[in-house]
Symmetry: C2
Subunit: 723 residues, 2 copies
Amino acid sequence: MKPFLPTPLLSPLAGIALNNLRRVVAPRVFPVRSFTAFAPSAPRIYAFAKYTSKKKQPNMTTMATTLKGEPLDKAALESLLRRRMFYTPSFEIYGGVAGLYDYGPPGCALQANIIDIWRKHFILEEDMLEVDCTVLTPHDVLKTSGHVDKFADWMCKDPKNGEILRADHFVEDVLEARLKGDKEARGQKVEEKEEDPKRKKKKSKGHEALKLDDAVVKEYEEVLAQIDNYNGEQLGELIKKYDLRNPATGEQPSPPVAFNLMFQTSIGPSSNLRGYLRPETAQGQFLNFAKLLEFNTGQMPFASASIGKSYRNEISPRAGLLRVREFLMAEIEHFVDPEGHKKHHRFHEVEHIELELLDRHTQLSGQTKTKRVSIGQAVRDGTVDNETLGYFLARIHLFLKKIGIDQNKIRFRQHMANEMAHYACDCWDAELLTSSGWVECVGCADRSAYDLSVHAKKTGAPLIVRQRLDEPKVIEEWEIELERKKFGPFFKKDGRAVEAAIMATTQGERGKLAKELEENGKVVINVPGVGDGKVEVSKDLLAIKWQKRVENIREYTPNVIEPSFGIGRILYSLIEHNYWTRASEGGDEARGVLSFPPAVAPTKVLIVPLSSNKDFTPTVRKLSQKLRSAGISSRVDDSSASIGKRYSRNDELGTPFGVTVDFQTIKDGTVTLRERDSTRQVRAEEDEIINAIRALVEGTKTWQDIESELPLFEGQDVDLTLR
Amino acid sequence: MKPFLPTPLLSPLAGIALNNLRRVVAPRVFPVRSFTAFAPSAPRIYAFAKYTSKKKQPNMTTMATTLKGEPLDKAALESLLRRRMFYTPSFEIYGGVAGLYDYGPPGCALQANIIDIWRKHFILEEDMLEVDCTVLTPHDVLKTSGHVDKFADWMCKDPKNGEILRADHFVEDVLEARLKGDKEARGQKVEEKEEDPKRKKKKSKGHEALKLDDAVVKEYEEVLAQIDNYNGEQLGELIKKYDLRNPATGEQPSPPVAFNLMFQTSIGPSSNLRGYLRPETAQGQFLNFAKLLEFNTGQMPFASASIGKSYRNEISPRAGLLRVREFLMAEIEHFVDPEGHKKHHRFHEVEHIELELLDRHTQLSGQTKTKRVSIGQAVRDGTVDNETLGYFLARIHLFLKKIGIDQNKIRFRQHMANEMAHYACDCWDAELLTSSGWVECVGCADRSAYDLSVHAKKTGAPLIVRQRLDEPKVIEEWEIELERKKFGPFFKKDGRAVEAAIMATTQGERGKLAKELEENGKVVINVPGVGDGKVEVSKDLLAIKWQKRVENIREYTPNVIEPSFGIGRILYSLIEHNYWTRASEGGDEARGVLSFPPAVAPTKVLIVPLSSNKDFTPTVRKLSQKLRSAGISSRVDDSSASIGKRYSRNDELGTPFGVTVDFQTIKDGTVTLRERDSTRQVRAEEDEIINAIRALVEGTKTWQDIESELPLFEGQDVDLTLR
């Protein structure tokens, strides 16, 4: 019936399970780190992990919630982010370019703080070797790594309006529209998804309430279940078979062609040296492996790490910061001996940590329920393959927790067999729940020895570890010795063929031959093409001896465990997770708050003089200066707005603390300190307040501690001024 | 004699002075920030500032000194940098790519620390608005900014071996070789320069001891003095006129053609959107000006800042980190009202700071002697144009001092008239003295309103400030009122011409016309092409009144003061400035030391257990953990080398402090703390030592303070173990 479809990787039953799964679990957003499923045996056109995965999350709008558990008003949040310049489309005054965004001051500070914590949490904590490699990469490197041939998506073109469509997205969109029309015709409830309005509008054109045959529905669902497995030709055949047409024009698009996702350029003046912008930071780390190992005085295991921009020329980027063409990555390459079960010497420090795991077996059975288990248990029972992988999953979890990701909106999802490259023994994604569904924000994969091996093979560079064995390894085996002086002259032109046949014998065969030689004084060897195919070799030409050999050095290519972070996606998820409005407290609905933890907040302190009275100026200036000296970022708002309004404006920026300078300050040098989330205040001398802020920002004290140490201030609730 | 030469910008006398200057002052290395001389009126091919400047420093080898003032052994330093992986050629196992370098762990940490200090010193201190804009930039933006047309160098090709030469470098090299040959033939001493060995070898081929006519010598010197002023055609004519040949082949290269220095690529799948990798971060900041102004609640002045990679496709990069194709920049765009003499409200904080200034007048008189003056004095006497520029020069100086740049190897050199774009009223470079001469590491230019103006004109976006005037501005002037109902019918087809002629009158003319109208009841207007060119207009068609108008808003385009930092150049200079060897103390010559200040050092503490005795392990682990919690980077060296050797190895990495754990530690919990530069040690309890380290790293205490507080340890001078 569908002769062109690939051999299903799953049983028909599993196919149906997956089909259910498709509509309820996986993110519609592409993974940051998608290299994990890229393997030499993958189809020529590289379909990396969930790169082609467009599985959708129903009812996202109702699922997305604020920090306080209320439904998320995404339009209000987006208005806030635009208004306060967290990020903005690049080159907007020139009309903008899809998939490119600039970070404004709060976004930029948020990003810098996330990176700072990342660097301390991973690099400093683990003595990782940070490197900063170039983005510009010559062709040969990415040819070897496989990106030149395989890092591509399939695209097709509308013959009428020239619109370029990503083939798999197109097939999926049209089939889903038909299924939706069928449901409507049957009077069933249709799930609504939150997505790009332009896209929605376009799709609605192609969506009519038209009942389909039951068999057709089943066929469409089966196609959608394995949409990730089709290559370009197969997608083209699906388009023809089902007569899929672009809703915008009513035309069938052209057959899909490969579109490599790397940005290409030329290096140097002669234009001979083709180059690309790297699609990941990993390759630079692999190429420096030998130097890094030497820097680490030859000791294994060790990790390198890199923070930098990478580039992917998406065919049609949407979804804001979640899918962009230029993005900041933070990647770790942990090099480990493949022998010894990839133990980790600090695993005991994290084994008690509990994670929400969604393993592959659960997914294959059509379930999406996560299991909350300790990482120690997960490694013991084999859910997570090894300690090193488990260690990093726990460390990733701790990092996300530290920066303020909602603990109820993290899960670790294991790749299924058809998502994962053949060399990977295990692969998990940290997914964060947002208004766009579960978004892969961190990938944690075992890349095995693949990269080091291909680069070593191509260049001849020894990307290996030479380990001096504590105990020399004694090897005993059958060895062949030829009496060359006689052997050649005896066999003449057949000499090489006979020798090759002898040398090709296995240890088992040699054992038998040795016995035969001892017993008969000769052996008979099969040498196809020489005489009748059987050749006698006597013991004056040949000896077969049981030999002992001692090896002092073991050479091996390390395996790589790679935690890979998409900083932009984490940043966006962090914003959503920390957003809420005072509406839930009976206040003004428009009063958005971003409850970032102090360490990650773009600015730590807002300084608010009660009025524009010049008497406050020296105090404000001194306060700013003291905070600066303490390395704490602050901003002064001396506008004429009420104090409540000024605090409220700043809640939108996520500033955790506010200091008010009033007439009392001039008398006794005390100021008030306001905490953003509770809006509660304490009052104390300036230096005490600065110490309190420092402790709060460094995380050595909580607001509760401060409230218990310093007198509460209730005389003048600044927030009342707004209500 | 040289009809194709451009009109000299300087008098003949000044030309000779410059000629002397060329050989003694300016750096042979290209500036990081070269945009300052780029102006719309510049030659079509953009020769930016010293981009084409190849003025050389004689006897650099003897001039370059270590931190201790001894001659610098550059080969030894380079060996150290390679061995300890400060940086390394990118893609080395694939043969490398010129102008691309990867930073290894110490280089990467050094870079991160420089950036961290930069961010605190400028962004935090001044409440600057940091943005992070994309590197990918569409064609239109860089077309408007002028980069597409003008950001180019001239290159020519050797017809025999295909070698590509930068035309100005080629002309300069060959003429200099001839002058050198002439000097040798005259038996004069020839100055030796330190440079790329490949280049040197190539040049020596073309260099024969051949005496030239005095007139020829003079002519060559005049050409070299103005080498920056030639365009491609002129360089081509010089090549023909003097029959300049590539020493490698003996051939005359092809006529120069323009080579744009931007890396080009295509954005999106249709390849229609041409794009470039940005050559500077500035444009992204300019395009966001309106949003940034709004973010700053409309208040002026303010500054934006950006730290990020930029790209220049150099024709033939050499000189290591000093001239690369991918580099990290940190740029500030300070937006200021062009009225009011560009005062700066914090200028009083820096006015006492003394700088080494090399002003343009000194240079034009052929001198290179800097003047040490306070920036307050320099602004008062007009050497530095305005307070804002002066403020930033002082702040740049303080930053360079803070990170550990040698105070005797900084100067601020003013651009001369022919280096500077016409819109710049002043421009100064912070130059650092290295083994490659004076290297421009920071540029500080006044870009005027150029960029905002051209982008506003192109896009129609209002890149302006609307200032509410404190006192409304009253404008009184002559205004024309036409009696339109009668005017049109009266003049019929000539109406428009007559009206245009009337409206084109100046205020002065209108005053006279008003008087004429009052006296004669009519006026005579010159209207070419209408009748005899004179037209009578009577007072029933026209009134001319003295009118009063009130303006409440003033609109203006801000000017931009731009301090722009080349981080890689600063980093390399910092390494050279802090390098010395213990040789000067009678120790082993090979014992290199990098005396970075603690705040900037890649790693702060080396932890050294006395031996590999397992009893030390818990203490070492606890110590590492405590330092980590305090945010202080440390590394453990538990190798079997002697303590002296281990410290010595670490001196090469610039680690300022060492902590030794020995048997006494196990008894009483005390450890020793060693200071890198003096190799002196104190001994105290672990926590006291950690507090001391923290104070040293934060800069609140000096080593002298620590020595006065904690008991000196002399029982076991670890350095003796090496001597």
